[in-house]
């Protein structure tokens, strides 16, 4: 099984067919509060509440840990440390360097020391504070610079090369270097991390986990408990947001709750307080990106070198693949001529950074966009023209730094169309003229493209399973390995199944994701949810459908081609049968009405040692224009207008896709503007609550926002109904905001100096960049 049908065989659409703009399947449950999240489930009557204690040091030996006061605290039932783990004290998804409980040393401030279960959550929280822990401090490595000085890495330096960049740069008419510091980002899913473990008989364990990766959770819980995977069932109906933050970080809660449930024989719930969630769980990696470019007088690149330094935190987690994806996106839409991309993954005494929408892609991509702005400034051209002149094209300029040929490039079409519809050129001219006049308020504008590679770059993860049951009344249950975190995966896959059977979507019941229904699944990540699970569900549907066709063609004595599924009926040799009647008849004829489905992405391969191959099945594209204004006295700023043209192939569901585009953009805007993670010198996170960590609010959304799905989109690869992934790519449309802010800051000097602005561009960074640029221009600040 591999390929989706090109078109429907039928002419009449069913309710909820593919390509129709259905709202989220749980929308009515969301707005009424009826949608149940894990904390909303009725608690078993014996349910204990678990809490954990945090390390007070970023790097120290644990000399002593006296827990007597914890054990004596009111309501406490059980206290668990590393010594209580029957299996392996590790929850690392890739490498075993991620202990569940710190044992002899602590490696970041906030690291989990032990767990305490009590009759109430309040009792457990209070008790967890009563430990007497003695530390022997060691110097923490907090920043990328400190880790670099100490040669502290999670793996060897990674290098990706195309041609001989050093010599091409040396030969180029112009060379230029620059640096960009990029902050991290907290996921700030509105539903905090949570798990509820319920012990069963004979070592069985059911764990409700708010996770994007139930299979990984199942496996790591089993490891911690020292029992086989088949004893563990991990399930969830939905998360209240994930964004990558529940791909691996959720395991801490699931494993701790399961361990305690196994020890006490009672149900155990572990819900983190928001502050602890932000302190204890990983975030987007912050980067320092240095670059050197060689180019001609028009700004056309001959060679580029990137030096990417990545703060990984104390453990490996997914940092290797995240670092790789940053390298894969260091080119964005541009042919670099020749390239050398060097990546160093720093091990620091900070929380272990993890997956976050884009998975390193945004950090790589903003490097080249920063470079484009700097090069354009250097050659005194509109950055849009320099971008257009450097785009991938057919004439031999279509090889990426990892040697994949770009075969589906549509960014030029998107950019040219968007430049026209947004009136970019006239607005830019007006802004630059106005910026040269008096006034505190300066404006900026930028158009930036996105090309995002679709597939897990760890090739084996590109597989998925599904399980469809049809019951004798004709109602359908749909199971697959994908998880719902708000992105609308469930409704999209249900649409695929509705289309396959040509039944109204109301007939399809979307089931919770559970490891006992569909095993060995990959995380719902890498924007792959619909691509993989949609195909797997289609495979299952096609199997059942074929059984029905065989059954009907034999019974009615017609050819297979004369059995047509159409609008809740099955037309057999011109005779219309109701779907439910056929199902009932099939059951009586002893036809199996349940099937598994499976899918693996074709064509992809990758050699990590040489960093060459075809890691991506295809690319998703988009482009955005943002206009900003800044106050040069205070650094205050806002996005005035954003225009987006985004490509999703042939959308499975335009309403859902629009939501992903807008939401992704605004989240990306937050990363680059107000969302600032501050660690102090001792390695303590100082921004661990919404009072100090500021994600965008309603008024931060650009007052004018024009979003359009590109109407010419079509995936050249045979993906599910020729759609494209949409979860992550739009996040990077927000790079247009950072470029526009850079443009506005240059406006403070009448566009005579290219500013040194880093991300996130907070009011403070903008004001400091304005003053520095003015000093460089020999202008007095007011």
């Amino acid at each position: 099984m591999g390929n989706a049908p090109e078109t429907n065989k039928t002419t009449i659409g069913v309710k909820g067919d593919v390509h129709s703009p259905l709202k989220h399947d749980s929308a009515y449950l969301h707005v009424t509060g009826e949608a149940r999240y894990i904390d909303d489930l009725p608690e078993p009557s014996d349910c204990l509440h678990l809490y954990v204690a945090k390390s007070e040091r970023a790097h120290a030996r644990i000399i002593g840990m006296d827990l007597s006061a914890v054990r004596a605290s009111p309501g406490v039932v059980s206290v668990l440390t590393a010594a209580d783990i029957p299996g392996v004290n590790d929850i690392g998804p890739v490498k075993k360097d991620d202990p569940l409980f710190a044992d002899t040393e602590v490696l970041y401030h906030g690291q989990c020391l032990f767990a305490v279960a009590a009759e109430t959550r309040a009792a457990a929280r209070l008790a967890a504070l009563k430990a007497d822990v003695t530390y022997q401090d060691e110097a923490p490595l907090v920043s990328i610079g400190e880790a670099r000085s100490a040669s502290s890495f999670i793996e060897d330096e990674q290098v990706m090369t195309l041609g001989d960049a050093a010599s091409e740069i040396a030969k180029a008419p112009i060379t230029l270097s620059g640096e960009l510091i990029e902050g991290g980002q907290d996921h700030f899913y509105l539903e905090g991390q949570i798990a509820l473990a319920i012990p069963g008989e004979d070592g069985d364990m059911t764990v409700y986990s708010s996770t994007q990766n139930p299979t990984e959770a199942q496996h790591l819980i089993a490891n911690v408990l020292g029992i086989p995977d088949n004893h563990i069932n991990v399930l969830l109906r939905r998360m209240g947001g994930g964004f990558g933050g529940k791909e691996t970080q959720s395991t801490l809660l699931a494993a701790a709750a399961a361990l305690c449930a196994a020890k006490t024989g009672r149900a155990v719930k572990f819900r983190m307080d928001r502050d602890d969630d932000m302190i204890m769980t990983g975030k987007r990696h912050d980067f320092e990106v240095g670059w050197t470019a060689g180019f001609d007088e028009q700004g056309v690149l001959k060679g580029v070198e990137f030096d990417q330094a990545v703060r990984c935190g104390f453990s490996t987690d997914l940092s290797m693949a995240i670092g790789d994806r940053a390298m894969f996106h260091a080119d964005n839409c541009y042919f670099l001529g020749s390239a050398k991309i060097v990546s160093n993954r720093m091990r620091t005494n900070t929380v272990s950074n993890t997956a976050f929408r884009g998975f390193g892609g945004p950090q790589g991509m903003i490097g080249i966009e920063h470079l484009m702005d700097a090069v354009a400034f250097r050659v005194d051209r509109d950055p849009l023209d320099v971008r257009l002149d450097n785009l991938y094209s057919d004439d031999g300029r279509n090889i990426t730094p990892y040697h994949q040929t770009v075969e589906d490039f549509v960014a030029r079409d998107l950019m040219e169309e968007l430049a026209k519809t947004s009136n970019y050129r006239a607005r830019r001219a007006e802004i630059e003229a106005e910026n040269k006049e008096e006034g505190f308020i300066k404006r900026g504008i930028a158009l930036t493209p996105v090309k995002f590679g679709i597939s897990f770059t760890t090739t084996h993860l590109n597989q998925a399973g599904a399980l469809i049951h049809i019951y004798t009344d004709g109602s359908i249950q749909l199971n697959h390995g994908g998880t719902e975190m708000g992105q609308g995966l469930m409704v999209k896959v249900a649409q695929v199944v509705a289309n396959a059977f040509q039944v109204d979507i109301d007939r399809i019941r979307i089931m919770a994701t559970a490891t006992d229904k569909v095993p060995n699944t990959s995380a719902t990540a890498a924007s792959s949810g619909s691509d993989l699970n949609g195909m797997a569900a289609l495979d299952a549907a096609v199997k059942i459908k074929q059984r029905l066709i065989d059954f009907l063609s034999e019974r009615e004595g017609v050819g297979e081609e004369d059995v047509i599924f159409s609008n809740n009926e099955i037309i057999v040799g011109g005779k219309a049968l109701k779907f439910a009647d056929v199902i009932k008849a099939a059951y009586l004829a002893r036809i199996s009405l349940s099937a598994t489905g499976y899918y693996k992405t074709p064509k992809i391969h990758y050699d990590r040692a040489s960093h060459t191959g075809r890691p991506f099945y295809y690319f998703a594209y988009g482009a955005a224009v943002s206009e900003v204004e800044i106050d040069t006295l205070t650094g205050e700023n806002r996005v005035v207008q954003t225009d987006i043209l985004h490509e999703v192939g042939q959308s499975l569901n335009p309403a859902i896709d629009m939501g992903q585009i807008e939401g992704g953009f605004v989240q990306g805007m937050g990363w680059l503007t107000t969302e600032e993670l501050v660690f102090d010198e001792a390695g303590r996170l100082r921004t661990h609550a919404p009072s100090t960590y500021k994600i965008p609010t309603a008024s931060d959304r650009p007052a004018t926002m024009n979003i359009k799905i590109w109407d010419k989109g079509r995936n050249v690869e045979r993906t599910i109904h020729r759609s494209k992934a949409v979860g992550e790519p739009p996040f990077m449309l927000a790079i247009s905001v950072f470029s526009a802010l850079t443009h506005a800051v240059s406006g403070a000097t009448g566009h005579t100096v290219f500013p040194k602005l880093h991300a996130p561009a907070t009011p403070e960074r903008i004001l400091m960049a304005v003053d520095a640029a003015r000093a460089e221009a020999g202008q007095a600040s007011p």
């Binding site: 009515y28 919404p690 008024s699």
Partner: protein
């Protein structure tokens, strides 16, 4: 005994923990799980519920954060949760519109948005503008990017027949029946701490004074937008609490000699109209304090009494030379508000004393006044620097000046050296330059997660420059214009 109205009935809580939050009570005790916990500190709005309060013969509905409101604060009021509005089979127009416009993705923040929009839907006060972004500023959504939610707010046309489902005569009479009821002493034994906890809800100031005399260490709780976090975040054991939200005499706003006298129990939302009429900058500042939910809970008196080094009201109150009335069993005394803030964490409040009211004198004819708030995010953020400038001009000369900042020192503080450099000088750019320089002698600001010391100083100076510029030009000087 706490009494409040919920779903058309009077609910009575005989024995409850007075520091139990409304959110905990709803989710854990009542199993009403539609209201969510997102942050437990009043910053994300996932827990938004609506409180109804009797105003004359009508019920006024306002959104609040249930995560930092304690149960005794429900006393005499009506509580409405998302479950009260409708079900998935029979939705309220706010719910239906939000769903149909794709306003939910993960859905976790959604009930909170529904309740904020519902409060706006019920609000019939034509004088208060209700821009949708202002209404939504206290509700964080991480999925949608807000567009469909804004569209919901802009699309909804309140229908009287739907509005009248809430606040009708039956609710009014229920509220009237409990309005002045005496809650008595609320005693709870906290097994986690092994100590009793006592709470009072006085309805008259004399009771408040008597209670403070008897329990000088008691915690006065007004809006709990700060005290709430002592419990939810710091797990503090508050043993005696006095809730002052049911004392009518603390909730008055009066025009006195052209100025305003505002009772300590007046909520920001209730003071907005009159404060904005003093000066548009004050109105703009107030609408950037917290969020709608916070301003519906928080009081002007609480903002003063908690002695925050930042503000946001103290800088402008000091700049306008406001006076504070402090009261106790022994009587009342009036002090200049700037003298109230002694040092970080220490205010001029004697044992048994409470903040009664603040008086803002009329703005003089020759006063040039500005106040600004600088923060990382425009809405619902704590200031890095909050500045207020009162410049008294006489024929182009600065006759007197009050330059006050929050966020620059351990308390909201005047920049005396800066003021000295202004007073007696011509109001011109050379004077501003020397006054900005003088400001470096006034403050040694700190660096923290909100801003560096350098930025704070630079912005404080630049705000004076901005104020000066605004006195000279009518051109555009701000990203956000005062409304």
């Amino acid at each position: 005994m706490i009494k409040f109205v919920m779903n058309g009935e009077i609910r009575t809580l005989k024995a409850c923990d007075p520091t139990r939050t409304v959110l905990e009570w709803l989710r854990e005790d009542q199993r009403l799980t539609g209201t969510k916990e997102g942050c437990a500190e009043g910053d994300c709005g996932a827990c938004t519920v609506v409180l109804g309060e009797l105003i004359g013969e009508c019920v006024r509905y306002r959104a609040i954060n249930a995560c930092i409101v304690f149960l005794p604060m429900l006393h005499g009021r009506e509580l409405i949760t998302v479950e009260s509005l409708g079900t998935s089979k029979d939705m309220h127009p706010v719910q239906k519109t939000l769903a149909d416009l794709n306003g939910s993705q993960c859905g976790f923040c959604t009930p909170g948005f529904v309740m904020s929009l519902f409060a706006r839907y019920q609000d019939t006060d034509p004088e208060l503008p209700k821009p949708v972004n202002t209404v939504l500023a206290g509700n964080l959504c991480r999925c949608t990017g807000y567009g469909p939610i804004q569209e919901t707010g802009n699309t909804l046309q309140p229908d009287v027949s739907v509005q009248s489902r809430f606040g009708g005569s039956q609710t009014v009479s229920l509220l009237q029946s409990i309005h002045n009821s005496d809650a008595g002493e609320i005693i709870y034994h906290d097994t986690n701490f092994g100590t009793p906890r006592t709470a009072f809800i006085p309805t008259r100031e004399e009771q408040l004074a008597d209670l403070l005399d008897e329990y000088p260490g008691a915690t006065i709780v007004a809006g709990a937008t700060d005290v709430g976090l002592w419990v939810t975040k710091h797990l503090r054991n508050l043993q005696t609490l006095i809730f002052n939200g049911n004392i009518p005499s603390l909730k008055g706003i009066a025009q006195v000699n052209g100025g305003l006298t505002i009772g300590a129990g007046v909520k920001y939302s209730d003071a907005l109209k009159q404060l904005a009429s003093l000066h548009p900058d004050i109105g703009a500042l107030i609408t950037r304090i917290g969020s709608v939910q916070v301003r519906n809970s928080g009081t002007i008196g609480g903002n003063i009494a908690n002695g925050s080094p930042i503000g946001d009201t103290p800088p402008f109150l000091i700049a306008l030379n406001s006076q504070l009335t402090l009261a106790s069993q022994a009587g009342e005394r009036v002090i200049d508000i700037e003298d109230f803030f002694i040092e970080y964490g220490k205010q001029d409040l004697r044992p048994g004393e409470y903040v009664k009211s603040v008086h803002i004198p009329a703005l003089a004819e020759n006063l040039f006044f500005r106040t600004y708030k600088i923060s990382k995010r425009f809405d619902q953020d704590i200031s890095a620097v909050c500045g207020a400038f009162s410049i008294y001009l006489d024929d182009g000369l600065v006759k007197d000046a009050r330059v006050v900042f929050g966020g620059m020192a351990g308390t909201p503080m005047r920049a005396k050296a800066c003021e000295a450099a202004l007073i007696g000088k011509a109001w011109e750019s050379e004077t501003i330059t020397s006054a900005c320089h003088a400001m470096t002698h006034d403050f040694k600001p700190m660096s923290d997660m909100r801003a560096s010391a350098d930025y704070r100083m630079k912005v404080a100076q630049n705000l004076l420059r901005k104020a000066f510029a605004e006195s000279q030009t009518s051109g555009r000087t701000r990203i956000l214009e005062a409304q």
